[in-house]
Symmetry: C2
Subunit: 243 residues, 2 copies
């Protein structure tokens, strides 16, 4: 029987780390939604970086350079973390380097995981399918907001826990899983309204990002499973089916 | 307007620390319920210690020595953290030193707080009244289980948040508060049944501690507010009304 657990903050990851466990990192608004979009739209790979980095160095090596802090594009970088920046010809075949307020910190925290996947509502069913095929313990790592608990990542964690626990191969005795499932059921499928008063939706609302939020809260727009290999996020498919 | 926030793990406290904020530490099963019981029953003071300590040293200074790990009394110490051990003549006028798996770690984490109170269901209304009289920002610090999220402390945090937010002097934009209030409302007043599948209730259930759990989940059995002064937990009343 495989265990499902949820960690509500990157700062708590050391208390949840275990060998052989697959970690799903989620930062719904918007880092992991944007990363998943880029990989689904054919980006060659993404280098996630916790700290702000030398943009010129990466530019000279042919990278698209993206950095977001507090919901805004950082000055001196081309892109932030809006998923609409990571679609179509803008990213197809491209290499991307990205630093964000929370998502890339969570990836950094769990870099030593057995496998590390990038999850979002837009690929939740694909993630659940991949996990079931691997038959390992699962830890869902919420990026939160500056190491604090947030609701949107918790909703995703509850939704993914439900998908896994519907399968006989998974069980959980983790209070965080129970809480997330209750909160997800409370949202009753209407994530947007449920999150109306959440702290980060309000923060982004002030930046006029309703279109981004709508996109990030939509389920199963793509069928892609991004996975960390060495220091790069790539499409899990490419690991088994070389082009 | 005073803010209400919840921190779900002692390990996250540095991300919530603020000057002038009153911290309420809670470890419902059973450390803060036991400490509150001891102070309500007339213990002179309690020294909370994160690590196991030299029992003989404290004994020679007239202390009752108590230590619990994983729900059990540690060998070589007289008491664990059962609230029934801290009642009546056993504690009246006594000095107590106590180390527990989670509660005393949470106190250690927040030792530098402006004020640190010991909260439990058994004194929740007294705590809310004290806080309102102080008119400061409030952080509820859940001890959790070995730095992980747990449900029983979250229920308390939701209940106390509700009591405070019913008052115009308090507001919150913290997602953790919203989540705890939803979870508390989901329990619908029946904490015992709600926690039936919680990880720690099961852990204690195996140790046959149903009577302790019933007691710890009862509201307003006492009217005492324990507060940390220097390295000692005392009755807040004694700070203003010397005997």
């Amino acid at each position: 029987m495989n265990k499902v657990q949820i960690c509500y903050s990157p700062a708590l990851y050391p208390h949840y780390h275990a060998d052989e466990q697959i970690v799903v990192v989620v930062d719904i608004l918007r880092a992991t939604s944007a990363m998943t979009t880029a990989i689904a739209h054919g980006a060659e790979h993404i280098v996630p970086v916790a700290k702000l980095f030398d943009a010129d160095d990466f530019r000279s090596r042919g990278y698209l350079v993206a950095a977001e802090r507090d919901g805004k594009i950082v000055e001196g970088y081309e892109l932030g973390n809006s998923p609409y920046s990571f679609m179509g010809d803008a990213v197809k075949g491209k290499k991307i380097v990205l630093s964000t307020t929370n998502g890339t910190q969570a990836i950094e925290a769990a870099r030593e995981a057995h496998e590390l996947l990038i999850g979002a509502f837009i690929n939740i069913t694909a993630i659940a399918g991949y996990l079931k095929s691997k038959n390992k313990d699962v830890l869902i790592l919420c990026a939160g907001w500056k190491n604090r608990f947030n609701l949107e990542d918790t909703l995703f964690a509850g939704a993914l826990s439900e998908l896994l626990l519907a399968n006989d191969a998974y069980s959980s005795d983790d209070d965080a899983v129970r809480a997330a499932i209750i909160l997800h059921s409370h949202a009753a499928g209407n994530y947007y309204d449920f999150l109306e008063n959440s702290s980060h939706r309000k923060r982004l609302g002030k930046l006029d990002l309703k279109r981004d939020i709508d996109y990030c809260l939509s389920r199963d727009l793509v069928n892609t499973v991004p996975i960390l290999k060495e220091d790069r996020i790539v499409d899990a498919k490419t690991l088994f089916q070389p082009a």
